[in-house]
């Protein structure tokens, strides 16, 4: 019974991993760019949620939306002010830009919020729910279900909508897209907005269920790398499966080996993937 | 037979960019490769240079099977290539660019530099100029110099003469002739018929990933299939 509880809990958390990882894979698929600051976007989403609850007394819907909007705006701004200028430059500039941004955001957060762990005051998502004999915190269940829904929505947006095909057109061939009347810069800014927005909501969802400190950004950033590496670079659906798998692996290894070893198992998996299947489960060789 | 490519095809998903192309080149030839945009010429070139792994087919160079060999192995074997979009080493000088090529057969710096200097002179470039400051024609010339320094026996030129002024074009044609006289066999992809007419004795016409015609330049320009490939069905009907 405990094992089932662990498994369900892992899948629910994995769904949130899937959501923010889909943001990372989106940018990779669109512009072959790895955002080292993606975990920091998640972390900022958590603090936005906290501020909205503490200052404005907003409920889950309010702070979830606020985190999404704030991070969407940040994503667009980061693209317009920084990424746009480096993305076709040397590799060093590409990697340093988002890596430096990660440090800037992480340590600014340390400076403002201190290194202490915080958690959201009680929200309407408190309490537990019993499903088929296992007990789960309501917040975890809501976070997991919302995350799965949003990840699938993002996948559908990319594959089924006009906007999605415009985005893909830019990813395939910038010049050709321009000739079709699409403005690549706008589409890429939008991609960054969507990506950071997804990270922001994921952060807000995580904040309902777990305490955190500014250093979680690094952990989530690396988790997103592992998820994307497993799911295949550029595939949102791949991220969904991979996120669930990694949530599961984490939960089970924490249960069997102890909480400290779950990170070792997950990063070990990443190294193994690089050797055995660098294109990921869903990626093409 | 220096180069023999048999039934080469390359598919990207469902799209067959090259669909069963054949090409044989004798040592000492200059062969032209023409065809409309998107006919698969560059992909075919990439297969020959080892840059793209063909889906099917075999590529033999001087009797050795290079089908699955890496691009650097192609270079060592003696197949050199230029790129449709010139990719020079922009942080380096012209001479240093050419030296990178020269190092393949001259591992020591002083030998490589001497060899590179001769090539730079031959191609009419300025040794100490930064590659970054070159325009497109200069870059294309530098690409030729660079690959020439690596000592190829077969040179694959991918639109190296495109976008030149008439004066530059004449100089470039003369340069290709010089290279040919040095004993280098050449396959050249080109849109400009003047280049093909003056340089080549044999032309292959590519369309939709296959060779649809071959012969002397004079023969292929009169070929019905070629005219149709370039101008579409309407043009043929109009002529009729």
């Amino acid at each position: 019974m405990v094992l089932i509880q662990v498994i369900v809990g892992g899948l629910l958390l994995g769904a949130v991993y899937a959501l923010f990882s889909s943001g990372l894979t989106l940018i990779w698929g669109m512009m072959n760019f790895i955002n080292f600051a993606h975990g920091e976007f998640v972390m900022l989403g958590m603090y936005v949620a906290l501020l909205v609850v503490v200052w404005l007394g907003g409920g889950p819907a309010a702070f979830g939306l606020a985190a999404a909007i704030a991070l969407f705006a940040l994503g667009v701004a980061v693209y317009a002010l920084l990424i746009r200028h480096v993305v076709r430059g040397p590799m060093l500039a590409q990697i340093l830009s988002s890596f430096g941004l990660a440090l800037l955001l992480r340590y600014t957060a340390f400076w403002i919020f201190s290194a202490n762990f915080v958690s959201l005051p009680q929200t309407s998502l408190a309490g537990t729910v019993a499903v088929g004999g296992i007990y789960l915190p309501v917040a975890q269940v809501v976070a997991g279900l919302v995350a799965v829904t949003l990840t699938i929505a993002l996948h559908l947006l990319l594959t089924r909508s006009t906007l999605g095909s415009r985005l893909l057109a830019v990813a395939e061939d910038r010049t050709a897209a321009m000739l079709m009347g699409i403005r690549p810069d706008r589409m890429q800014a939008l991609t960054w907005g969507l990506s950071a927005g997804a990270a922001g909501i994921a952060g807000a969802l995580l904040a309902t269920a777990y305490p955190w400190s500014p250093s979680v950004g690094e952990t989530f950033g690396l988790l997103a790398f592992v998820t994307v590496a497993l799911g295949g670079f550029g595939s949102v659906l791949g991220s969904l499966y991979a996120g669930l798998i990694i949530g599961l692996i984490e939960a089970i290894s924490a249960y069997w080996l102890g909480a400290i070893y779950k990170d070792i198992v997950v990063y070990g998996l990443f190294v193994a993937l690089l050797w055995l299947r660098p294109q990921g489960l869903m990626g093409k060789a | 037979m220096l180069l023999e490519a048999r039934d080469v095809s390359k598919a990207f998903g469902d799209f067959r960019a090259v669909a069963g192309a054949d090409l044989t080149v004798e040592a000492g030839e200059i062969v032209g490769l023409i065809g409309p945009n998107g006919a698969g010429k560059s992909t075919f070139f990439n297969c020959l240079a080892g840059d793209t792994l063909p889906t099917t087919g075999r590529i033999l160079f001087d009797g050795a099977d290079l089908t699955r060999a890496a691009p650097e192995a192609h270079a060592r074997a003696g197949i050199g290539r230029t790129f449709q979009v010139p990719t020079t080493f922009d942080d380096m000088s012209v001479l240093a660019n050419v030296m990178v090529g020269a190092f393949l057969r001259h591992p020591h710096r002083n030998d490589a530099r001497e060899h590179a200097r001769r090539i730079v002179e031959l191609t009419g470039l300025r040794a100490d100029q930064p590659a970054r400051s070159l325009g497109t024609p200069g870059r294309k010339r530098l690409e030729i110099a660079r690959v020439l320094a690596s000592g190829p026996r077969l040179l694959l030129l991918d639109e190296s003469l495109a976008g030149l002024t008439p004066g530059e074009l004449q100089a470039a044609i003369a340069l290709v002739r010089r290279i040919h006289q040095m004993g280098v066999t050449i396959v050249i992809v080109e849109h400009i018929m003047e280049v093909i007419m003056t340089l080549t004795r044999r032309v292959l016409v590519f369309n939709q990933g296959r060779v649809i015609a071959s012969g002397t330049p004079e023969q292929v320009v009169r070929d019905e299939a070629v005219i149709e490939a370039y101008l579409g069905r309407g043009a043929r009907r109009q002529r009729e």
């Binding site: 072959n32 | 270079a75 990719t87 990178v100 660079r146």
Partner: protein, 330 residues
């Protein structure tokens, strides 16, 4: 003066000798313990950033997890001392060997793929090792390891005062720079720069790209490991964060990038600017200053990436002709 400006090559040679003389004389002029400590910190930063520069700067393969080599270098001598009482000097080559092995393990799979994979792999592996070491009691767990408190002989590399360390570090820095300089002029150096510019073009000219990148990484890892060993024996203490922490990697990247990644003296210049700055901010703000230092680091890295990816040396190279012209006109 005019002659110096007109002949940049000989000007450069003069500056190098002046720099070398300044570095040799510095601890004799500033004999205060504080200044010597700053000097040693600067040299260590310059060594590790120059080591990073071989693969990150010249070959353009941006590692953001070089702390893995630094940490291996720092841990191995202290571990051998703790376990069997070996002199730290004996552990240094073992640390180097382990680092080179690790470099091959990371480089072999990732160098087949786009450069982003390498960057991601480096940060993930560094983090993996940091966490792993923190949970492994044999290597001291979260507490770390200590070196010899009292020297049993010179081979323990445990000295009173900073002066011996200063000159050992200076010698190692000279070695790293000399090797880099020699390689820069050879085929290997040309190949590295070609790879950084365009791997595809380099391969088309017969450059064995994967092998060259792997060699660059192995060499860089060896020197970084040596830097880590020097840090370990000098401090006499190492823990997971000071050996394998991400900030160790960040410092190497930022020193090299600020001065000029892919230039011989760029990392040294970066360290020359940032180490005193860091020391000053630590003195002014106390412990709280370190957080602020890294906000600043992040900001500087972003600005370099956005405006001057070539670093200060590149900026100088572009500005120098204008300044020279103005000097002539005046």
């Amino acid at each position: 003066m005019k002659k110096l400006l007109a002949q940049p090559a000989s000007g450069q040679r003069v500056s190098v000798w002046l720099l070398a003389a300044a570095l040799v004389l510095y601890p004799l002029v500033f004999s205060d313990a504080f200044y010597r400590d700053v000097g040693v910190t600067f040299l260590l930063a310059a060594i590790s950033a120059s080591a990073w520069n071989i693969v990150g700067g010249y070959a353009g393969q941006v590692s953001v997890g070089h702390s893995m080599f630094f940490g291996l270098g720092a841990y191995t001598p202290l571990l051998f001392y703790t376990l069997w009482g070996w002199p730290p000097l004996a552990g240094i080559p073992v640390g180097i060997l382990l680092s080179v092995g690790l470099a091959v393990v990371i480089g072999l799979p990732t160098f087949r793929l786009s450069g982003h994979y390498f960057s991601m792999a480096t940060i993930a592996v560094a983090e993996l090792i940091r966490i792993f070491v923190g949970t492994w009691a044999l290597v001291g767990g979260a507490i770390g390891l200590q070196g010899p408190a009292m020297a049993r002989g010179w081979w323990d590399l445990t000295f009173r005062g900073d002066l011996p360390y200063y000159y050992i570090f200076l010698a190692v820095l000279a070695l790293v720079l000399a090797v880099t300089f020699a390689l820069e002029r050879r085929r290997f150096g040309y190949y590295l720069r070609a790879i950084k510019s365009s791997e595809r073009a380099a391969r088309s000219l017969g450059v064995p790209v994967r092998r060259v990148k792997l060699q660059a990484l192995a060499l860089s890892a060896a020197f970084t490991s040596a830097a880590g060993s020097l840090y370990g024996v000098k401090t006499g203490f190492i823990d997971p964060d000071s050996g394998f922490g991400i900030l160790v990697s960040v410092q190497m990247v930022i020193f090299a990038a600020l001065g000029g990644a892919g230039t011989l003296f760029g990392p040294l210049l970066g360290a020359l600017i940032l180490v005193p700055l860091q020391t000053a901010s630590n003195t002014w703000f106390g412990g709280g200053g370190s957080g602020l230092t890294f906000v600043l680091y992040g900001g500087i890295i972003v600005l370099i990436a956005r405006f001057e990816p070539g670093g200060l040396f590149d900026l100088w190279r572009r500005l120098a002709p204008h300044l020279r012209r103005r000097a002539h006109a005046a």
